[in-house]
């Protein structure tokens, strides 16, 4: 698998910016999503709905221990096994143990970002278990040997021509780039796998504390196959993906699907209430739910606690002008886009992802669409501060310290401006600077820079208005 986390955001973004057709493919998908989202919210009191969603998430996350305990108790009464994994390794180990207990050789998987987070597919591969992704987008990404480029639409960066080539190469087929034909083909391949699989693994969109059940939404029905055909079902969830009861779920689900896909409801909404009961004709013999912490508890109660309200709809990605240019791989982390730029440094640490909060122009488009009103741009600002504390270069510290000192009063500000005006003289041609040494070259490499004006506004004002108003 390609190591997407190597290098810096700037280096990875360079690759994305140089990839022909990538921005066009992303732009088309995102414009479409933006229109769909707007239509889905039309006729609703969007601010009120979002405020209600925010309130539910805030209450639930503030009482997370209580609701997780209730979920585990209630799930147990119907035979679901709920386990809490503190780390990614613990979660992987538990899944492997269940697979070994059942001698599983083939696993079908529904879409799960938590499985990406814990690196499940490579771990299963090493253990000799065959894993097939059954979400069409995930299947495409798996065939390409990549990771998802988007939280909800993992193959958003692929054109239909690229998908055709992938399918033809992998299966020795001769398909056209007609999406219907490609989908039909994938369905045929996957159907065999569903029927042969020993274990199904899925994510969880929301767990319901009151009933011990959980729900998965898809538009392809693949998650329902994963949860019902194999003998064993393992569901993976982040510890925050829970609601108190069906009452709250009735708001959160449409909020999720409207924000993610512009839909009031997805084609399939699967509720899992546990393994097959004695009086029931079918269903899996065992249902396991792995609740993952993996650094989340450390976010609770911190300045950034509101990111725990996230419902992984991907709406912030769909409006982000930076994401639009390069897609998710440039972020080099499991979670990408604005939410990823906040989550990745918190979950993976500042060494691994400390540059991501700067991968934003702070245009606030993310905050504007977040269905649960996470102030994403403020989180990015806060993280920049935390990261600067431990990781700012000496040059940067020095520059800002002097800047603050000089511009901290108008006299030294004027004085520094005059000095800069003299300093720029060798660089200025016709009131423009076209080439300059570092650090100005970071601007002039691709843009002309205006020269400092011969007379500043305040100097001109003093000349014309100096005698008093």
């Amino acid at each position: 698998m390609r190591d997407v986390s190597a290098g810096t955001f700037e280096q990875r973004a360079h690759v994305g910016l140089q990839t022909p057709g990538l921005a066009a493919a992303l732009g088309r998908a995102m414009d479409h999503r933006a229109v769909q989202r707007t239509q889905a919210f039309a006729g609703t009191d969007e601010p009120a709905v979002r405020a209600a969603g925010e309130a539910i998430r805030a209450h639930t996350v503030a009482n997370l221990d209580h609701y997780l305990e209730r979920f585990a108790e209630n799930a147990a009464t119907r035979g679901t096994k709920v386990v809490f994994a503190t780390t990614a390794a613990e979660a992987v180990e538990y899944v492997l143990r269940v697979l070994r207990d059942h001698g599983a050789e083939l696993v079908v998987k529904g879409k799960s970002m938590v499985s990406e987070e814990i690196g499940l597919n490579p771990a299963l591969g090493s253990a000799g278990v065959e894993v097939i992704e059954t979400d069409l987008g995930e299947y495409i990404v798996q065939l390409a040997g990549e990771t998802p480029a988007h939280i909800t639409t993992p193959a958003v960066h692929k054109t239909r021509g690229q998908v055709r080539d992938l399918f033809n190469r992998a299966h020795g087929a001769d398909l056209s780039d007609d999406p219907a034909e490609l989908t039909r083909f994938a369905r045929g391949v996957l159907r065999e796998k569903f029927l042969a699989a020993d274990v199904g693994i899925t994510g969880v969109n929301f767990a319901v504390a009151e009933t011990g059940s959980f729900t998965i939404v898809t538009n392809e029905g693949n998650a329902r196959m994963c949860t019902s055909l194999p003998r064993v079902h393992i569901a993976l969830m982040g510890m925050e993906r829970i609601v108190p009861s069906f009452r709250e779920l009735s708001l959160m689900l449409p909020l999720l699907t409207a924000s993610a896909a512009g839909l009031g409801v997805t084609a399939y909404v699967t509720f899992v209430n546990g393994p097959r009961q004695p009086e029931e004709p079918d269903g899996p013999e065992e249902v396991h739910v792995v609740v993952l912490d993996n650094g989340r508890s450390a976010i609770l109660g911190s300045e950034f606690h509101s990111v725990m309200h996230c419902i992984r709809c991907g709406a912030c990605l769909n409006v982000c002008p930076v994401f639009r240019r390069v897609g998710g791989h440039a972020y080099g982390a499991v979670y990408c886009g604005p939410i990823g730029a906040v989550l990745a440094p918190l979950l993976d640490g500042f060494n691994a992802a400390g540059d991501l909060p700067h991968a934003s122009s702070l245009c606030v488009a993310c905050t504007e669409v977040c269905p649960v009103n996470i102030p994403l741009h403020e989180c990015l600002l806060g993280l920049r501060r935390e990261i600067a504390r431990s990781r700012a270069t000496r040059g940067e510290r020095f520059a800002f310290a002097w800047w603050g000192r000089l511009w901290g009063n108008a006299r030294t500000y004027r004085w520094s401006a005059r000095l800069a005006r003299i300093g720029q003289l060798p660089l200025v041609r016709r009131r423009r600077i076209r080439r300059a040494p570092f650090p100005l070259s970071r601007w002039t490499s691709a843009r002309d820079m205006p020269a400092l004006a011969r007379g500043s506004f305040r100097e001109r004002w003093k000349r014309t208005e100096g005698r008093g108003p």
Binding site: H358, S360, S361, R442, R460
Partner: protein, 261 residues
């Protein structure tokens, strides 16, 4: 979501103080002059307290709030007692209105910061919402497209005040580009931290603006305009980025090609 205190239905102030911004002061003084001329032309006396330097946004956005406070404090001092503060920048106004209160929270300047935030307006917002200007009479023969700068749009919640002011100008044809609300890629320090990305975003914006056949790209923030003009000039694109204040001042015959008449 923290939303700005909607400063509408405010009484017309007897005079205003100009928050010129460091970018306008040092690089685009004509934008400051246009702002003064416009306000005076509309019968509002203007003063310029020269203790002001910079709102501190570059430092805050880079993760240096202490340094940001140092320069931001010059604004608190300069505008102490000012009835209303007007600025030809959505971004710098948003810094004062949205970010000063949390930036100074828990410091001795907490009250002063909140107080200044409540008295500070972006220029087009001040003209339309506070002065109640419906139409700026004037003439300017050009095909114009309008870029909604991010912080004015999404932090100040400006809603078409700039377009409204352009609509009254004779000879001016306003043509909308695709996604006028999409970021141009300036983003302050973003433009030098990730120059290749910033430039790609500028190219998108310039392409969308050019596709309208406009001669002039109007905006309310010199940061965005500097970024777009720098890119347009480097690529030889014939599209003139122009600040709203300068266009309005020229349309009213107060200025000629960005110089005071």
């Amino acid at each position: 979501m923290r939303s700005s205190d909607e400063p509408k239905t405010v009484q017309r102030p007897a005079r205003v103080s100009l928050f010129v911004t460091c970018l306008v002061d040092l690089l685009f003084p004509e934008v400051g002059e246009a702002t003064v001329l416009l306000l005076r032309d509309l019968g509002v006396p203007v003063d310029f307290p020269d203790a002001q330097t910079c709102c501190g946004q570059p430092a805050l956005n880079s993760g240096f709030p202490d340094e940001a406070r140092r320069t931001a404090r010059t604004l608190l001092d300069a505008f102490e007692g000012a009835e209303a503060v007007v600025s030809p920048s959505g971004s710098c106004t948003a810094m004062v209105r949205e970010h000063f209160p949390p930036l100074f929270q828990g410091t001795r300047d907490e009250t002063r910061a909140r107080d200044l935030a409540a008295r500070t307006y972006e220029l087009s917002e001040f003209l339309v919402d506070v002065l109640g200007v419906d139409r700026v009479a004037g003439s300017y023969a050009a095909r114009v497209t309008y870029h909604d700068s991010c912080h004015g749009l999404r932090e100040l919640h400006l809603s078409g005040q700039g377009r409204k002011l352009l609509a009254g100008i004779d000879g001016l044809e306003l043509v909308e580009m695709a996604r006028p609300e999409q970021c141009c890629g300036f983003g302050g320090t973003f433009s030098v931290r990730l120059p290749e990305m910033a430039t790609a975003m500028a190219d998108d914006k310039l392409e969308q603006a050019s596709a309208t056949g406009a001669d002039v790209l109007v905006g309310g923030d010199t940061g965005c305009l500097m970024h777009l003009a720098g890119r347009a000039s480097r690529k030889g694109i014939h599209l003139r980025p122009m600040h709203l204040a300068v266009l309005l001042a020229e349309a009213r015959g107060l200025m000629l090609s960005g110089t005071v008449r």
